[in-house]
């Protein structure tokens, strides 16, 4: 495309655009920076509203308090366990079903796709799900987190689109060599789909790592909570204290102590995501594109 010399109006636009996009970046990043600053600051400095980007009264007390709380580590371990178990189940089920749905010759395929797609637009709703999970006796088990959301239909369609894009000849050759469906899937298709499977693992793992509501709903015991619910209890507890005007002794202390503790917990929860983000981001983008083209 030959680009003509930019007009003056367009140069003005470019300048404005640069300002707008810089603002987008600043607004996106600022909350992270201020949370880090607060987590490293002195309570008194936060109370007097002095902390924004630079820590005031630098100290690591809050980090020591949080990391020496066994409940924090237990919840962290729970998050890891739930994420691993749920992701494993999800990826296996999604791969199997996507593989089946990608076979154009399969009788009843349209119905099988329809069964999945319909659930994107109509769901049973919170209450029947709650009743179901409760009466299946899944409360206070990892299954309450893992099973009800095992297959994400969007991910399923992404993977189906990917399998459909694989050359048919490969599987025909496998069949000629005497491989059955299972053999073809395990020895031919999956080795070719490593990037796709990795993308699925990431999609599911991030969503289970971040999820909180299922655990909040179905876990009654403190030692079963994932770190997201641990953090939730911390922030809601803090805002309750503000509302009641600090019913417990000197309320201000409780609220302000919570401010640094909250910040530290936020930092420690978000850290793993931030650490892997640069590496996983492009997988997510390519996965979304694949889903959008075919889905």
């Amino acid at each position: 495309m030959v680009t003509p010399r930019p007009t003056r109006g367009y140069r003005v636009f470019q300048a404005v655009n640069a300002v707008v996009l810089t603002a987008v970046v600043v607004v996106t990043v600022y909350p992270f920076l201020t949370i880090v600053a607060r987590s490293l600051s002195d309570n008194a400095a936060i109370v007097s509203g002095q902390v924004n980007l630079v820590p005031r009264g630098f100290n690591l007390t809050a980090y020591r308090v949080v990391t020496s709380d066994p409940a924090f580590w237990i919840s962290y371990r729970n998050t890891v366990v739930y994420t691993v178990v749920a992701t494993l189940i999800s990826v296996v089920l999604t791969t199997c079903y996507a593989f089946v749905l990608s076979k154009k010759h399969l009788r009843g395929r349209t119905a099988l796709v329809g069964i999945a797609v319909f659930t994107m637009f109509f769901t049973g709703g919170l209450i029947p799900n709650y009743v179901l999970v409760t009466s299946l006796g899944l409360k206070n088990t990892v299954w309450a987190v893992a099973l009800p959301n095992a297959i994400n239909v969007f991910n399923l369609l992404v993977m189906k689109a990917f399998f459909e894009s694989l050359p048919v000849e490969l599987e025909e050759a496998a069949a000629v060599d005497g491989l059955g469906t299972y053999g073809t899937l395990l020895r031919i298709v999956l080795p070719l789909s490593k990037a796709m499977v990795a993308t699925m693992v990431l999609f599911y793992a991030v969503s289970f790592w971040n999820s909180w509501f299922a655990a909040f709903l179905y876990m009654d015991r403190q030692d079963l909570l994932p770190v997201t619910v641990y953090l939730r209890n911390l922030i809601v507890g803090a805002s309750d204290a503000t509302q009641t005007g600090g019913g417990l002794g000197s309320g201000d202390d409780i609220v302000q102590a919570a401010a640094t503790i909250q910040s530290v917990t936020i930092v420690l929860t978000v850290l793993p995501i931030l650490a892997v983000y640069p590496f996983i981001q492009r997988y997510f983008v390519s996965g979304i594109m694949l889903g959008a083209v075919k889905g």
Binding site: T7, G9, F13, L21, V24, V25, T28, V29, Y30, P31, G49, V51, L93, C96, Y97, F99, V100, K103, H105, L106, R107, L112, A116, V117, T119, F121, F122, G124, G125, L126, I127, P128, N129, V131, L132, S135, L147, A150, I151, V168, E171, V176, T181, N210, F213, L217, T228, V236, S239, T242, Q243, A259, Q262, I266, T269, I273, Y277, P278, F284, M289
Partner: protein
């Protein structure tokens, strides 16, 4: 049936085999399912567990909605004890709180749509004008980041930023104002909710538009330029029509989630002080059903909400198909 290939497992995954001699085709036509099962049983077996999942965790709860019409006793049957007809529906139709939360749902849903739908388009168009690839990549990567955060983290950040000693109140203070307890004020809830929603979704929302923009044929710009269109006109007459299918698809999907407005986020951000503006159908039925244990009543509300949601998607899809020829299926 003996004539059906006994070596069926050698061709289980490829496309349907080429036409067989007459005798076999007749058999295949008369007993198509039996033949399909025999040939593809391994494939079907892979679908069993996923189907079980959909059956138990997706379709059974849909049936479970009958408790909206039946008396449910905790510990009793999942499908309730006896029929109550429309009793629970009448109950909530005459419940003034229900209409308050219904209004709140519509207002929050409309505001979310108003901001969260167009802003990614604007941002995508702006990003598309950035010449430097490195710079564009950088802005994109940063703006995607909030999408990867847990809602709990976002809510916690919002509370920190808006707390009496937080950044926003520091700005208010710098202009000589008194600190505002934003989180406790019903008048602020909608702005807080929508802006946090924009913060979290706008960057990620640009992906599909940026992809659609790159597929627009360069000749179209050329032709528009020859016709004397400046940059602005090109945006209006070439780029926007180019991404229209994407826009319509996302609009329909957005409308589909209209009634479900960020339930989890509201649950985290609201409190009894902000109920007048923050309480929506889903949070109300959560409190009525799970916190207070009126499961049948809450199921009736939930079913009502789900039916409205489905109706919205179907009508949006229908209108879009007729008006611009874009539809989800």
């Amino acid at each position: 049936m003996t004539s059906v290939r006994s070596d069926a497992r050698f061709a289980p995954t490829g496309p349907a085999p080429a036409p067989r001699p007459d005798r076999r085709r007749r058999v295949g036509r008369r007993r198509p399912w039996r033949r399909a099962l025999r040939r593809d049983w391994q494939l079907y077996s892979l679908a069993v567990l996923p189907l079980l999942f959909f059956l138990v965790f997706r379709y059974l709860p849909m049936l479970g909605n009958v408790i909206a019409f039946r008396r449910f006793r905790p510990g009793g049957s999942v499908f309730g004890e006896y029929w109550t007809g429309l009793r629970y529906f009448r109950l909530f139709f005459t419940d003034p709180t229900f209409w308050d939360v219904f209004t709140n749902t519509l207002v929050l849903g409309a505001l979310t749509l108003l901001f969260c739908f167009p802003l990614p388009i604007v941002l995508a168009l702006l990003l598309n004008e950035v010449r430097s690839r490195v710079l564009r990549r950088f802005v994109q990567s940063v703006s995607y980041l909030p999408h990867f955060l847990s809602i709990v983290i976002v809510a916690a950040m919002v509370m920190q930023l808006l707390s009496v000693d937080g950044t926003v109140n520091q700005v208010v203070g710098a202009f000589g104002g008194q600190p505002v307890p934003f989180i406790q004020e019903p008048g602020w809830f909608r702005s807080i909710y929508v802006s946090s929603e924009v913060w979290q979704t706008v960057g990620w929302g640009t992906i599909l538009y940026l992809a659609a923009l790159t597929t627009i044929d360069g000749d179209l710009y050329e032709a528009a330029r020859i016709d004397g269109a400046n940059r602005w006109r090109q945006t209006w007459h070439v780029m926007l029509p180019g991404i229209r299918p994407t826009m319509m698809t996302l609009l329909i999907l957005n409308i589909g989630t209209f009634m479900a407005v960020g339930f989890e986020k509201i649950l985290l951000l609201y409190n009894p002080l902000t109920y007048p503006t923050a309480d929506v159908i889903s949070t109300y039925l959560y409190r009525v059903g799970i916190v207070s244990g009126n499961l049948s009543y809450a199921a009736a509300i939930g079913l009502f909400e789900a039916v409205i949601g489905l109706t919205l998607v179907l009508s949006a899809n229908g209108i879009s198909r007729r008006a611009v020829g874009t539809s989800l299926w």
